[in-house]
């Protein structure tokens, strides 16, 4: 597939392509800046490529080059399975033409590149900063921006523009003509702009939405993120490969185990490293545990937002049982740091299987209770069915993945489409919804809990004996007697401890099915002990970008229900 798509692009755009590469099986094409839009439009429309999903856009800074910035587009096709990476270079102060007319997911992705690198996108409908404060000076991910230079800015950004407010007022006045007149005989509009968040319980402490209301109905809305921008990507450039693992815990802190697996999966791809079978099976177990715990929190809090508090207790009790297992396994409840490059932090403890099986029975009980309470509940159905509905085409256009995309009826799951860790050998189903509304999203997640339990059951049964860490001396410390008794062992130990893991120069995109969708790491290495660039592809970033479109025309209370169902985790959204 890779070779064929590269060949096709070469035939069509021979002169525009600067470089073609398929390192580690990732098809990568560098094109001239002037041809970016044309080539991307071709990739989207050409029937054999059909890249309908724009996963993310990443910037890379090479200050020593004349055209110092690289803009990297990660493309995927759900129909043909094409994976493509398209790159272009741009000088400081220059602009690239926007692709937000091709994919709506490009809108926020381009804003992020602008914010962090200062690359402008010509024709972008909304060229504002996104993660940093709007008064922030400089561009944080440029190599010459010091990591510790914080900036305190005070004036909050006005989200709704004057045109938006006035335009909506004019429409409102038009639709009410002849109905309402104030004392001067003018037709009155009574739209009200309200601010939700960031310090608002339903906004999860880190999201802000400004909505224009007509009574209870949202006429227009705008959102702002970045309140939890903890600079993961800058921190990653400042740390060794192994040191980054704790930071990955805090991306999607509700399913830290899954993030750990995703990160080491991407790094191992760059190292071309095989992991022992036992470690692979344990990784399957822990990532499914992460998925279960994530879904418990998401569904539990979503139901609280709708007003069904009891379910929250049921799910959090189940979660506590899971936490106990996780705490015994890794020493922490939430921030696990369980994986290591080449293996795991430590083996399963004695009695893990029975503990986990017990916890899973508790989860099953909780799920049964909650399903019984809500699934055919009239109030819940009225609150959730048809609320925040999204069609499959739109969802793909917005860059949705994971349970949210599956609730619209698309059966795309990385575990099936691009199996990793041996997922092709497990027997499980992909639940899909029909309407893509709040109700389907909740039920999809609940069914995924069942499927994850099936996978864990199979994995526990086949768990082989053996080592949990790859013996490869590039990543693993040698056993102690080798360190003390052989010169090679001592040198290996010294090099690893002092210099850390050395990842060969190159770039790769490693991805797995996170709890909330495709979780990917686009990594550029220059062969030193730190990553040169680490771009996370967080599943909820594109999902939240569509939120304001999703809630237009809905009631405020429906917007809250919708937001809960999308499972926006700020740590991963803002990184």
């Amino acid at each position: 597939m890779t070779a064929k798509s590269l060949e096709l692009l070469q035939q069509r755009f021979g002169a525009e392509l600067v470089e073609v590469d398929d390192y580690l099986g990732d098809a990568s094409v560098t094109v001239r800046k002037s041809a970016v839009h044309e080539v991307l439009a071709f990739c989207k429309d050409e029937p054999t490529l059909r890249c309908d999903l724009l996963l993310d856009i990443a910037g890379v800074d090479h200050p020593e080059r004349e055209e110092r910035f690289e803009v990297v587009y990660l493309l995927r096709s759900l129909q043909t399975g094409t994976r493509l990476r398209l790159k272009t270079t741009v000088a400081d102060g220059d602009a690239v033409s926007t692709v937000s007319d091709l994919w709506r997911s490009a809108n926020w992705a381009e804003r992020e590149v602008y914010d962090l690198y200062g690359v402008r996108f010509e024709g972008h409908p909304d060229p504002r900063r996104i993660l940093c404060h709007h008064e922030f000076e400089g561009h944080a991910l440029r190599k010459d921006y010091p990591i510790g230079k914080g900036q305190m800015c005070y004036v909050p950004e006005a989200l709704l523009t004057d045109q938006q407010v006035e335009g909506s007022h004019a429409l409102d006045v038009e639709s009410r003509s002849g109905q309402l007149q104030n004392v001067d005989g003018e037709i009155a509009s009574d739209l009200l702009a309200i601010n939700l968040g960031p310090s608002h319980p339903a906004m999860h402490g880190a999201l802000r939405v400004e909505a224009l209301l007509d009574g209870e109905t949202i006429v227009d809305a705008r959102s702002e993120i970045g309140y939890l921008h903890r600079c993961f990507e800058k921190e990653a450039e400042d740390h060794t490969w192994q040191q980054i693992i704790p930071y990955t815990d805090r991306l999607n802190y509700v399913s830290a185990l899954t993030n750990n697996v995703a990160y080491v999966h991407a790094v191992e791809k760059m190292l071309q490293l095989e992991v022992p079978e036992r470690a692979r099976v344990i990784r399957v177990i822990v990532s499914e545990m992460g998925r279960i715990m994530d879904h418990l929190v998401c569904v539990g809090t979503n139901l609280v937002d709708i007003g069904a508090l009891t379910n929250f207790w049921y799910f959090f009790n189940a979660r506590e049982y899971m936490y106990e297992v996780v705490e015994r396994l890794c020493g922490e409840r939430l921030t696990t740091s369980y994986t290591r490059i080449g293996g795991l932090y430590r083996d399963l403890y004695e009695g893990f299987e029975s503990d986990l099986r017990f916890a899973l029975t508790k989860v099953a009980e909780g799920v049964k209770d909650v399903t019984g309470l809500v699934q055919r509940n009239r109030i819940f159905m009225d609150r959730a069915i048809g609320v925040g509905a999204m069609s499959a085409e739109d969802a793909i256009d917005w860059g949705w993945t994971g349970p949210c995309l599956r609730s619209t009826g698309v059966d795309y799951d990385v575990r099936k489409a691009f199996p990793y860790l041996g997922y092709e050998t497990y027997d499980f189903d992909i639940p899909v919804g029909e309407n893509g509304d709040c109700y389907d999203r909740i039920l999809c997640r609940i069914e995924e809990i069942h499927q994850s339990m099936r996978i864990i059951d199979q994995a526990l049964k086949r768990l082989p004996d053996g080592p949990i860490q790859s013996p490869d001396r590039r990543v693993a410390l040698p056993p102690k007697d080798e360190v003390y008794n052989s010169i090679e062992g001592m040198m290996n130990h010294f090099k690893l401890v002092f210099e850390g893991i050395q990842v060969p120069a190159g770039e790769a995109y490693g991805f797995i099915e996170g709890a909330n969708g495709e979780l990917g790491f686009y990594i550029v290495s220059d062969g030193s002990g730190n990553p040169y660039r680490m771009k996370v592809r967080p599943p909820c970033f594109p999902i939240f970008s569509s939120f304001t479109e999703l809630v237009k025309g809905q009631m405020v209370a429906d917007a809250i229900a919708t937001l809960g169902g999308l499972n926006i985790i700020a740590g991963e959204l803002d990184r």
Binding site: A140, I147, A206, W313, R333, T335
Partner: protein, 168 residues
């Protein structure tokens, strides 16, 4: 509390300050300023297993006007900082601030351009809870410590403490 029962069934005598503090310490109404991972552990603390209501602090309010304990659970970024200051200023006296977790206490391992290095650079902070995130038990222990302090402190102390804070 030093209650003297002079007439067994009708009244007790005590100092007003002690009676008020006694009431306050067992009815701390927290406002969880939850921004990140710690907020999930706060939910766990409210949950049935550790049940914060045993300590009288289960009346979680999301309005600063209705609460007297500001529980900063999570990383405070520079973008978030002015909002935290404003929320704090909106709370009525007496009020207490707990920095839950290392991010709120000192920035934790986020020493970078986006993260405030401890909320005590923004608002007066009473108690720091260690952990990343702290376990529910740890948070409850902090709550008990805070109760002891509330019991000891008079209103004068509180006034003194907040007099110098330059909060807009």
């Amino acid at each position: 509390m030093g209650v003297a029962l002079e007439h067994p069934s009708n009244y007790i005598t005590t100092k007003l300050r002690q009676a008020v503090n006694w009431g306050r310490k067992y009815s701390l109404w927290p406002m969880p300023y939850g921004t990140a991972c710690c907020a999930i552990e706060f939910m766990g603390t409210v949950g049935a297993f550790t049940d914060i209501s045993r300590f009288g602090a289960e009346a979680v309010r999301f309005s600063p006007r209705q609460s007297d304990l500001l529980l900063v659970a999570g990383t405070i970024s520079y973008k978030q900082a002015p909002i935290l200051k404003r929320i704090y200023a909106q709370m009525a006296e007496p009020k207490w601030v707990v920095a839950m977790g290392v991010c709120a206490s000192s920035g934790g391992f986020y020493d970078n351009y986006g993260t405030v290095q401890g909320i005590d650079t923004l608002i007066p902070t009473d108690l720091y809870v260690a952990g990343c995130p702290p376990t529910p038990e740890n948070l409850l222990s902090a709550l008990v410590q805070l109760q002891e302090r509330v019991d000891r402190e008079g209103l004068e102390v509180l006034k003194e403490r907040h007099r110098d804070s330059q909060i807009a």
